[in-house]
């Protein structure tokens, strides 16, 4: 089965083509076809994962282009990380497909939505199995396209259009860094192949600065896609897309692509301490930064979006502190519980038709299952003991501690506290307390929504056990089988486990005090008048700062250039063309089509000639 | 005589001499016209078994035409309001002048030829063609649809019949080897061309009637169709000038036929003692009588018949005549 792994991305592509070409106007059939393909993809991915668990890695390549002595290849690779990612992506994608069956009911463009889902999944899966950087880059961009189409799905809304454009442009900034990094590597190594690049790095063929530069450039690409600090602003705005899309983007595919990229090129980072530190610092800062914003947001999806950014920061922190396994582990668990949270949030939004958590309340009586799965997701993300998030987060904290950077460790610890605080804020505000007006008509969603959530809930609870100190480090062993990295045996102090547990519980408790018991609503409290609140609520004015320092100067610069072009270049051009036009005008006036005009001109000029001839040397007056 | 003008020194005597000769000729022709009109009326009357004009100048009505002319002179000259005045005025002159000019080449006797041109025949044809312009201009200037139609018909008819006319002449010219009218007369010393070129004569005669706009080819001024043709709007002496031109042409054409086909001033057989001018006059009068005779005998033909006759009968016949004559000349007169 592992040999036909290339089929996995092809199936969603087929689904996309079939639906968009033939089933555009048949929403029922289109969505069913897409689901079938999605299911088959998922089964294949599972089989591949199983196959990989039992066997070895596989690398298949075919020559694509031969330019001089350089051969560019196409192919696919199945290793531990790839097969895991294939499984996660196809699994979440399948569940989202099922979920969307009900969620997108009644939408005119349901078929197209499923087609886009297919395209997006195809791009992500193909990205995951790419054996070289060029192929990765191609599908990396396709992922961007897919996200653009999905975020802008409700293109008739101005905000959706703006969000789609923003996502596209922000990620493109990162992509430029990635492209430069790839080209830099290519000029140095002469190949796009991961293996050859890693081999070159191992053999010390590359000088340190090149490695650092290319690693940081690749990381910039990851920053763009994974919504890390300077380029994170598109991610919350991307909530304009339909909620299943948010689940897909934020849990399994797009944002995971950044983390995946760093993980896939990890041997490169490993060599350069500067690159690692950069990754760690960025990740750490993003984590606390996004968590603090998430604490004050009112929009349920935005809170989840910032929590995603924050969790991605955790992953980057893990990767940056040599916690390769921890990063991938958290990516896996996060994929499940974040998808669960988004789907649950979608279910809530579906029911109450608002996204403002301060307008909700008491939903646990009306939507028991949703409430339950949301609680599971919240517990998981908060790192409640024995839930999946608990294990993965603990791993990250350990790796942060063992890397010897205490500041980052404590920041991460505090972020973990904040995480449980704001996640439970959402839970308490939405599900407990008295039934608010908006929630009073809410009804539990149908089975197509509930079943995927329940499945994910199971995974959210138990997926942590694949890598624990108590039961066995299956994931770690599996991943390190063919990850070309050096593993540092470290011993984590046990108190980190307790610290993490305490922090998590403290967060939950604080949250209960603030929101469960007192129902503090920031929007209505006196706190909302303080500058701190407004700064954080407005996301530290990052968008405004960007607007001020990037957009406006660019516009000004462009206006200046336009002025120069208009008046200097354009002026010269206008003058030249005007002169030519004038000559042409005279010419066209002469070419009036009237034979007498021609005759007059001819005779006039002939008369001139003969006059000049007669007067000068013709001897007219002789 | 032409050559004399060219070569002599300019003097008042010469001016008087040549002017006098011209006036004499025009007087002769006007005399002819006067009595030709009377003759026409008389012949018509005889043919229609009635007396004709018989009040003025005795039983014969000798002064009838003079009285008519006097009447025309006294009549008011009306110029229509919407007419093109300049052209209306000039048109009769244009029509009349060529009619007198053609007289110059006709040899009335051995000695009396005003211009002995080498291209006499062609001169006649060319100059006579000019009066069409006068007729068309008259029709145009009158600003009257009957006049215009009359003018157009005249032009069409004259252009159409000029071709068989000239082509029939070619037979005569071929046999003579010259276009000089005197030479042509001299060539008829023994046999007149009416005998050697009978087809040419018939064609020429029919074409001549058409050129003269006389019945049965008088469609130009067919009263029943066009009121008065191109001269509808003309009154008084201007109208008289058109009539004058018509009869001048009758005179000239009769003279030409006499010269071309009847031997001109050549006497008949042994009667050489009678002067050539008398012979010319006799033959000429016979031709004029022929014209009158035909006019009163045949009914007017239709316009399309006129064209068909000209283009489909006379033209091929004339061409055939040229061919036959050329062959005969090549075989017998080499």
């Amino acid at each position: 089965m592992i040999h036909s792994a290339w089929l996995i991305p092809v199936l969603p592509l087929l689904s996309f083509l079939i639906v968009i070409l033939f089933l555009r106007n048949k929403p029922k059939l289109g969505s069913l076809v897409a689901n079938c393909f999605s299911l088959i993809t998922f089964i294949l991915a599972t089989l591949v994962l199983v196959g990989r668990l039992q066997g070895d890695s596989l690398l298949r390549e075919w020559n694509w282009l031969e330019v001089g002595s350089t051969t560019i290849t196409l192919g696919f690779e199945i290793n531990a990380l790839n097969s895991l990612m294939l499984f996660i992506v196809s699994f979440v994608s399948f569940l989202v497909n099922v979920y969307s069956l009900e969620y997108m009911e009644g939408d005119d463009r349901k078929s197209i939505f499923f087609a886009y889902l297919g395209l997006f999944t195809f791009a992500m899966l193909a990205l995951v199995i790419s054996p070289n950087l060029l192929q990765t880059y191609i599908f990396w961009e396709l992922v961007g396209l897919g996200s653009f189409l999905l975020i802008g799905f409700y293109f008739y809304k101005d905000s959706a259009r703006a969000a789609a454009k923003k996502a596209f442009i922000m990620t493109r900034i990162g992509d430029v860094g990635l492209l430069i990094g790839i080209l830099l590597l290519f000029t140095q190594v002469g190949s796009f192949e991961y293996d050859e690049i890693f081999a070159a790095v191992r053999n010390g063929e590359l000088i340190g600065s090149v490695i650092t530069a290319s690693a940081i450039l690749i990381f910039i690409g990851a920053v763009g896609k994974s919504g890390q600090f300077p380029l994170h602003t598109w991610l919350p705005d991307a909530m304009e897309g339909p909620t299943p899309v948010s689940a897909l983007i934020h849990a399994a595919t797009m944002v995971a692509a950044g983390v995946y990229l760093v993980a896939a090129t990890y041997p490169l980072f490993e060599v350069s301490q500067i690159a690692l530190t950069t990754v760690a610092v960025v990740g750490c800062f993003t984590a606390i930064f996004a968590a603090s914003i998430g604490l004050f947001q009112k929009d349920i999806k935005r809170v989840l979006a910032y929590s995603t950014v924050s969790q991605l920061g955790f992953m980057m922190l893990a990767l940056g502190t040599s916690g390769y396994v921890a990063g991938v582990f958290h990516l896996t668990t996060h994929a499940f519980f974040k998808a669960l949270l988004f789907l649950a949030a979608g279910s809530v939004i579906h029911a109450v038709h608002t996204q403002d958590i301060e307008e909700m309340g008491g939903l646990n009586k009306r939507m028991k299952i949703t409430s339950l799965v949301f609680l599971i997701g919240t517990l998981a993300i908060s790192g409640f003991p024995l839930f999946s998030g608990f294990f993965s987060k603990e791993e990250i904290l350990i790796s942060a501690w063992t890397s010897g950077n205490e500041i980052m460790f404590f920041i991460a610890l505090f972020t973990a506290f904040l995480t449980s605080l704001y996640m439970f804020r959402v839970y308490f505000l939405v599900f407990t307390g008295e039934t608010s007006e908006a929630s009073s008509h809410a009804k539990e969603s149908g089975s197509a929504i509930l079943v995927p959530m329940l499945i994910l809930a199971v995974f959210a609870v138990f997926s942590g056990f694949i890598n624990t100190h108590w039961f066995g480090t299956y994931l770690s062993d599996f991943l390190l089988e063919d990850a070309q990295i050096t593993v540092k045996e470290t011993h984590a102090p046990t108190w980190i486990l307790y610290a993490a547990t305490i922090v998590s519980l403290a967060g939950i408790f604080t949250s209960y005090l603030l929101f469960g018991k007192n129902k503090t609503k920031f929007g209505e409290s006196s706190f909302s008048k303080s500058p701190v609140y407004s700064i954080v609520y407005n996301k530290y004015y990052i968008d405004e700062i960007y607007d001020a320092i990037v957009v406006k100067p660019t516009r000004l610069f462009a206006a200046g250039l336009k002025f120069i072009e208009w008046f200097c270049v354009g002026g010269i051009m206008k003058t030249i063309s005007g002169c030519i036009q004038f000559v042409g005008w005279i010419g066209s006036r002469l070419q009036s089509g009237k034979i007498q005009t021609y005759g007059t001109i001819a005779v006039f000029i002939f008369a001139l000639f003969i006059l000049v001839y007669g007067v000068t040397n013709g001897g007219l007056l002789k | 005589m032409m050559n004399e003008i060219m070569t002599s020194q300019p003097s008042w005597l010469n001016v008087l001499k040549f002017t006098g000769l011209g006036v004499a000729l025009i007087l002769v022709v006007i005399l002819f016209v006067t009595y030709a009109i009377l003759a026409e009326r008389k012949v018509m009357a005889f043919m229609q078994m009635r007396p004709g004009p018989n009040r003025i100048g005795g039983k014969l009505g000798i002064l009838q035409t003079l009285a008519d002319v006097l009447k025309l002179l006294l009549k008011e000259n009306i110029t229509p309001k919407s007419a093109d005045k300049l052209l209306f005025l000039v048109a009769p002159v244009i029509a009349f002048a060529p009619a007198f000019m053609v007289m110059a080449v006709i040899p009335f006797s051995e000695n009396v030829t005003f211009a002995n041109l080498n291209v006499g025949v062609l001169y006649y044809v060319g100059i006579s063609g000019l009066s069409i312009i006068g007729i068309v201009a008259a029709g145009w200037a009158s600003n009257n649809k009957y006049s215009l139609l009359g003018g157009m018909r005249a032009a069409a008819q004259m252009i159409s019949y000029e071709i068989p006319l000239v082509l029939s002449l070619l037979g005569v010219i071929l046999l003579t080897g010259s276009m000089n009218l005197n030479d042509i007369i001299k060539a008829q010393d023994n046999v007149w061309y009416i005998f050697t070129q009978p087809i040419a004569f018939v064609i020429f005669f029919i074409a001549a009637i058409a050129e003269l706009n006389r019945g049965p080819f008088d469609l130009v001024e067919a009263e029943s169709e066009l009121v008065g043709g191109f001269s509808t709007e003309y009154t008084g002496f201007r109208w008289a000038i058109f009539m004058l031109a018509e009869y001048f042409y009758l005179f000239a054409m009769s003279s030409l036929i006499t010269v071309l086909f009847l031997g001109g001033w050549q006497p008949v057989m042994f009667l050489g003692f009678i002067p050539g001018s008398v012979w010319f006059a006799l033959k000429f009068l016979f031709v004029v009588f022929l014209f009158l005779w035909i006019r009163f005998t045949f009914p007017r033909i239709r316009a399309d018949q006129l064209m068909e006759l000209g283009w489909k009968v006379l033209l091929p016949l004339a061409l055939a005549n040229v061919f036959i004559t050329a062959i005969i000349k090549e075989i017998f007169f080499r």
Binding site: Q591, G593, K594, I595, Q596, G599, T600, V603 | M6, T7
Partner: protein
Amino acid sequence: MSSIPASSFLLLAIILFCIGLYGALTKRNTVVVLISIELMLNAANINLVTFSKYGLTPNLTGHIFSLFVMAVAAAEAAVALAILIALYRNKPTILIDEMDDLKH
């Protein structure tokens, strides 16, 4: 007759040619333009005939040429008028400066 200098004939030809040229270039009525062109041809004919009488080697060739010119002029006039009438049927104008449909 020889008392008339050759240049007189030539000058007359020049004057007539200039009149014809002026008429051909300034008159709007197509028929008048045609007439003017005929006048120019006539002026040329005067020269031809003059040089067949005056000149270094006077002979009849000038006459022959002028006859050919006349024939060509007649053909030209006939065809030109036929074209004019055909045009007039399609576009009721005989002003030469309105006959510019081939402009673009």
